[in-house]
């Protein structure tokens, strides 16, 4: 028996998210009196793999095959399922991010395992196995029972946090059986700026609304996102006006995000917008209208002009960050 956690890497490095997943898996392993096996796919140095032990993984399995350098949903699902059987995993943990969403459901079908996605806390009981998740984009919570012998959870980012509990960690390399059938898709061309994070997976999101007045005032939004290592976003009217690309639109009909902190500049906070961002841990709003609904959802608010507040905020944050 074990709890198997899939930890993604970004150019050979783990992120806070990877360690949060291990911390969470360790919490479940304690409840079940078992241990955590972390699975890494890709080219990750041993020093980095060992870090999994700081959060409670007693074993790390490293799969490093050039065919798996790009995410191929079918192949990843096969490798993870094969290891889940080998390690006799009864619970599998993934991130509720782009990769987790693409792979975990396939693994669930392969293992006949019940899957609950976007889970926000440790199981409230393990017999029956009950976990809590957000539904209706954060407007309600559901407690969900998983009835199958093998259980799969995708964890909502930033909902559990880090929990250091160092254990002795062993590293094993594993050579999976890859089948040609699993490689029906491939990446032809990559078009990306390095260092930028996917909006839906970002820890920090800096967003602008109609109050930013026009596309040419977006430089400070981009600057703040860059200083903080975050992603940029916008409200629907901004995307509709063509000030920003549609893929940056967050809201009920755009992207749904749940970062650690969401900065809303010149966004009034219509209910459709809030539906896409209300799962953010902290919301910071700057708007000239004190009655804007965004202040109902925000944790910190400034009533003021974005064109003066934003540059000032950038300066002060640079001071704190020592830049």
């Amino acid at each position: 028996m074990s709890v198997l956690v899939y930890i993604e890497n970004w150019d050979g490095k783990f992120k806070k998210l990877s360690f949060e997943l291990i911390s969470y898996a360790q919490g479940i392993a304690r409840q079940l009196s078992t241990s955590v096996v972390a699975l890494s796919i890709g080219n990750v140095a041993e020093e980095e793999l060992k870090k999994a032990g700081n959060y409670g993984a007693s074993k790390v399995i490293a799969v490093n095959n050039p065919k798996l350098n790009e995410l191929v949903n079918q192949a990843y699902a096969s490798v993870i399922s094969e290891l889940a059987l080998k390690e006799e995993a009864t619970v599998l943990v993934f991130a509720n991010n782009m990769t987790g969403k693409a792979v975990a459901p396939r693994v669930a079908v392969k293992l006949n395992a019940g899957l609950v996605s976007g889970v926000i806390a440790l199981p409230s009981s393990t017999e029956p196995f009950v976990v809590k998740k957000k539904i209706y984009t954060g407007k309600a919570y559901a407690s969900v029972t998983i009835k199958s012998p093998v259980k799969i959870i995708t964890l909502s980012q930033n909902s559990f946090g880090l929990n250091e509990s160092a254990v002795d960690v062993s590293i094993e390399n594993f050579v999976p059986q890859l089948r040609d059938n699993d490689f029906a898709t491939s990446v032809l061309e990559t078009n990306k700026q390095t260092g930028k994070v996917l909006l839906t997976d970002a820890e920090i999101v800096v967003s602008g609304g109609r109050g930013m007045k026009s596309a040419e005032f977006w430089a400070p939004i981009e600057e703040l996102a860059e200083i903080l290592g975050g992603a940029t976003a916008c409200s629907r009217p901004v995307a509709d006006e063509g000030w920003r690309p549609h893929h940056e639109h967050v809201g009920q009909t755009g992207k749904i995000i749940a970062p650690n902190v969401y900065f809303a500049f010149g966004i009034s906070g219509a209910i459709q917008h809030l539906g896409g961002v209300s799962s953010s841990k902290i919301i910071v709003a700057v708007n000239k209208d004190r009655d804007a609904p965004i202040f109902e959802a925000a944790n910190y608010g400034v009533v003021g002009d974005v064109t003066t507040v934003l540059p000032e905020l950038i300066n002060k944050i640079k001071e704190v960050k020592g830049q």
């Binding site: 790009e70 949903n73 079918q74 509720n96 782009m98 969403k101 693409a102 975990a104 459901p105 396939r106 669930a108 395992a113 019940g114 899957l115 996605s117 976007g118 209706y136 984009t137 407007k139 309600a140 919570y141 559901a142 407690s143 969900v144 009835k147 029906a184 491939s186 990446v187 061309e189 990559t190 078009n191 990306k192 700026q193 390095t194 996917l198 997976d201 549609h246 893929h247 009920q252 009909t253 749904i256 650690n260 902190v261 902290i282 910071v284 709003a285 202040f295 109902e296 944790n299 910190y300 608010g301 400034v302 003021g304 507040v309 905020l313 002060k316 944050i317 001071e319 704190v320 960050k321």
Partner: protein, 249 residues
Amino acid sequence: MKILVCLSNVPDTTTKIKLAADNLSFDLTGVQWIINPWDELALSRAIELKEKYPATVEKITVITVGNKETEPTIRKALAMGADDAIRVNAEAQDAYFVAGQLAEAIKDKSYDIILCGIESSDHNGCNVGSMLSEFMGLPSVSSVSFLDLENGNVSLNREVDGGYEKIQTALPFVAIVQKGIALEPKIAAMRGIMAARTKPLLVLEPANIDALTEEVAYELPEAKAACKMIAPENISELVALLHNEAKVI
């Protein structure tokens, strides 16, 4: 080419969520039901492709798992421009159940492209599309933000950190689509609404599949603490709060 679009019937996204007195269900009286927004965008793109490449796209079918009450949503999809529809006559349970029913319903029907929205706005599962592809043994591409069929070839982008990747795929395949796949949902014209009444709707009885998860109780979030207001001339206080209190920067 035959395109299938999987639809979920969800409460309108502006619905105020109310719990029934026992906390075991939602009070759905007066709720407007709509096509799940991402599924609606998937269907809109399928229709755009059929209009753009009439020689390539032969037919668009929509499918849903739901009881008779979901038929107005199906008719809406037909009014938008789908050619025919399938309804699996069962109350939707968990994603495993829904995906399994979809796979059973379409296994002999040879669709070339299957489109699913990335998530549903009610249960926020993000699972049916990928599960369906696994049930059918088909490749899946997730977070698809661009799909075109120029010269009969599938051209496809998926979103990744900092940009996108062009993906090549064998057919048939399942595309799990993200916002951006179509800019605007198609609006049904009066002619479409009239035509939808007589378009074929096949009703299938469900296969014997057990759900593996079950929602057993619901609760509403606690009321949020009031927003801390900071004067615009005191931005250092805001930064101090974010740094020391919220610990997010």
